[in-house]
């Protein structure tokens, strides 16, 4: 019996393609405690969204599948669980906020029915009771005149409002875990500030754990207790948030942190960069993929570096060239 809400162990997920199996997530492990926020940060192709979708079995089928490892939510194994079990988990134990509200919401259905869909599925409510709850939820997420907005279509709402609707849907059954996949990337910065505040408030009120996926290190710094840095399908570093920013240990983390333009930098100063770019997923080496990016040669490309626990909540992929 463990204390963690969510335990991911050696997770491997991939897609069947014409050129064979493409492993987007290549053996990662982490835990999330009740009430805490874990950020997963990484750039395109690192596997962060595939990780999230693997947890709730939303990888595009039949090509996408979890290939290995274990996903335990409140001590219940979710990998290879029956569809009925996943229907129960999704929306009920786990709420999801997707990146693009216009893509995630049904454009030809009014907002009200989309919110209550989850309620009707998981709770014993009449349609009227559910609609009343939906209005309450819209109010809780800060939408003015919620009783009117219930009848709107998604395209009638602004980006910020649509994201609030997504949050309402994610929260309606009081889940224990909230998965937020780039929840503010598509929003203007002043609206992003509102949404991040709302998410913090909701989390505090409800004692939810949150898995926050983003490429934005500023959002990570402000919202997360702990951070996992992913690169090319693997975790390269994991640490409590203050430690990660104060003392990054992996070359990739260091590179990422030093390449962000900050308001406090002197203007027109040269930015540090990470040369090159992530390799195509089919070309990933079995060894250290950051060495691959940096154009290094030798053993580090064939030997997969060990993922070690350093103590104090810190973990590191210990490639001799990168750490």
């Amino acid at each position: 019996m463990s204390s963690s809400l969510l335990e991911i162990e050696n997770l491997e997920s991939g897609f069947d393609t014409e050129r064979g199996l493409v492993k987007a997530v290549d053996g990662i492990s982490f835990e999330l405690e009740k009430g805490r926020t874990l950020g997963i940060v990484g750039e395109s192709g690192c596997g962060k969204t595939v990780t999230a979708m693997s947890i709730i079995d939303l990888l595009p089928k039949p090509a996408g599948r979890v290939r290995g490892g274990s996903i335990r939510l409140m001590d219940r194994e979710l990998r290879d669980a029956e569809p009925e079990v996943m229907y129960d988990v999704r929306g009920n134990d786990v709420g999801v906020i997707f990146q693009e509200p216009m893509a995630a919401l049904n454009p030809v259905q009014r907002v009200g029915p989309q919110i209550i869909e989850s309620l009707l599925l998981h709770r014993d409510l009449t349609k009227t009771e559910a609609l009343r709850k939906a209005v309450e939820l819209l109010d809780a997420v800060g939408i003015p005149a919620p009783d009117m907005r219930i009848s709107d279509y998604p395209h009638q709402l602004s980006g910020g409002m649509r994201q609030r609707v997504m949050i309402a849907i994610a929260l309606c059954c009081n889940p224990d875990l909230l998965i937020a996949d780039e929840p503010t990337t598509a929003l203007d910065v002043t609206v992003q500030a509102q949404i991040l505040d709302l998410m913090s408030e909701m989390q505090k009120e409800r004692g939810m754990a949150t898995l926050l996926i983003t490429h934005d290190l500023g959002v990570i710094a402000e919202q997360c207790d702990e951070v996992v840095v992913m690169y090319a399908g693997r975790i390269v570093e994991r640490a409590p948030v203050k430690e990660l920013f104060a003392e990054p240990k992996h070359a990739y983390t260091k590179g990422l942190l030093s390449s962000i333009p900050r308001l406090s930098n002197k203007h027109k100063s040269e930015l540090r960069t990470i040369p090159g770019q992530v390799a195509s997923i089919q070309d990933f080496v079995s060894g250290c993929r950051f060495c691959q990016r940096m154009g290094r040669e030798g053993e580090s490309l064939t030997e997969r570096p060990a993922y070690e626990e350093l103590g104090g909540g810190r973990f590191l992929e210990t490639c001799p060239e990168c750490t």
């Binding site: 750039e43 395109s44 602004s158 980006g159 910020g160 409002m161 203007d188 910065v189 002043t190 609206v191 992003q192 500030a193 509102q194 991040l196 505040d197 490429h215 934005d216 290190l217 500023g218 959002v219 990570i220 710094a221 402000e222 948030v241 203050k242 920013f245 104060a246 590179g255 990422l256 942190l257 390449s259 962000i260 333009p261 900050r262 308001l263 930098n265 002197k266 203007h267 027109k268 100063s269 040269e270 930015l271 540090r272 960069t273 990470i274 040369p275 770019q277 992530v278």
Partner: protein, 317 residues
């Protein structure tokens, strides 16, 4: 070289959409003017008015002493060598069916510059300038990553040796580690070639990094202009302050003192009278803004702010 713009309004048939509402800007030779604002503020429209991809309905665009505003497209064509545009989404702005060599040399073809052999040489020169291998010329844009495609777009914009580049969200679609590469490239090119930039973006941290002067736009109007460091150190307009404080700081040890402004980014259709931002935040003196003409006033050296009674505290903090 001054490049003053007095942009005007765009009218739609069913009503008036003041996408750009009386904007005065000056870009000096070798200088970067950053234009920052959120969606719908009119920054992209302004950029397009400047390069005459859109025709301003009022005001003037004066480039190197010549008034471009009402010139015919054919008269404009030779002048277009002197200013070029780089777009946000390299996937959309590069024709997928043209080779990289064809893409980069297209402006040379249009301007009838050089022989075919000259153009091949020029393409090689430009690829080298933006840090891409010569072999790229035979490939197609979809064979490259986002950052590389953006370099191709920059190479294309530089083909005709312009004095001014208008860059519309040039790094927004790129990963963070690639953003910094492209930003460094732009700064290097500016030094090497003496270019002027109009750098349009929504990310104030990025804009501040590359700009000499920054203009902040809200609902079609410029609310504040100042040298980059000054804007950050002494923001005077409430919107600028809110924008600065809304940006998440990548440093968990800095205490969060975010000014969260309520409401939505406005739509330019049917804007409220007077100061739109004052209206959004229910400012105390909002009513006073309705009857006075809102204009930029210089309050310190190079620091201009809208004379808005509800959003500006003239006291410097």
């Amino acid at each position: 070289m001054h490049f003053p713009v007095r942009g005007g309004v765009l009218y739609r048939q069913t009503g008036s959409v003041k996408a750009v509402d009386g904007v005065d800007l000056v870009i000096r030779k070798g200088e970067t003017l950053g234009l920052v604002g959120e969606s719908g503020c009119g920054k992209s429209t302004l950029g397009k008015c400047i390069v005459r991809l859109l025709d301003p309905t009022d005001g003037r665009v004066v480039f190197k002493g010549t008034d471009l505003t009402r010139m015919s497209q054919s008269a404009l064509r030779p002048i277009r060598q002197d200013f070029q545009m780089v777009f946000q989404d390299p996937a959309e702005s590069l024709d997928a069916r043209m080779s990289v060599g064809e893409l980069i040399s297209e402006p040379l073809v249009i301007q009838r510059i050089g022989t075919r052999a000259d153009r091949v040489r020029r393409v090689e020169e430009l690829l080298d300038l933006v840090g891409l291998p010569k072999t790229a010329a035979q490939k197609f844009s979809f064979e490259f990553s986002g950052g590389q495609r953006q370099r191709i777009g920059i190479a294309r914009a530089l083909a005709v040796n312009p004095d001014l580049l208008v860059l519309d969200e040039p790094v927004s679609a790129l990963d963070v580690s690639v953003q910094s590469q492209v930003l460094n490239l732009l700064m290097d090119l500016q030094n090497e070639l003496g270019l002027s930039y109009l750098f349009i973006a929504h990310d104030l941290a990025v804009v501040k990094h590359v700009s000499d002067v920054i203009a902040v736009m809200y609902l079609g109007k410029i609310v504040e202009i100042a040298p980059a460091e000054e804007l950050y150190a002494n923001p005077l307009h409430a919107y600028t302050k809110a924008l600065i404080s809304a940006i998440p700081v990548p440093d968990p040890s800095v205490p969060r003192k975010r000014v969260v402004i309520p409401g939505e980014v406005p739509s330019p259709i049917d804007p409220p009278p007077g100061c739109a931002f004052g209206h959004r935040i229910n400012a105390e003196n909002y009513q006073a803004s309705i009857d006075i003409p809102l204009e930029l006033k210089e309050v310190a050296d190079g620091h201009w702010v809208l004379n808005c009674p509800c959003c500006v505290n003239e006291q410097r903090e």
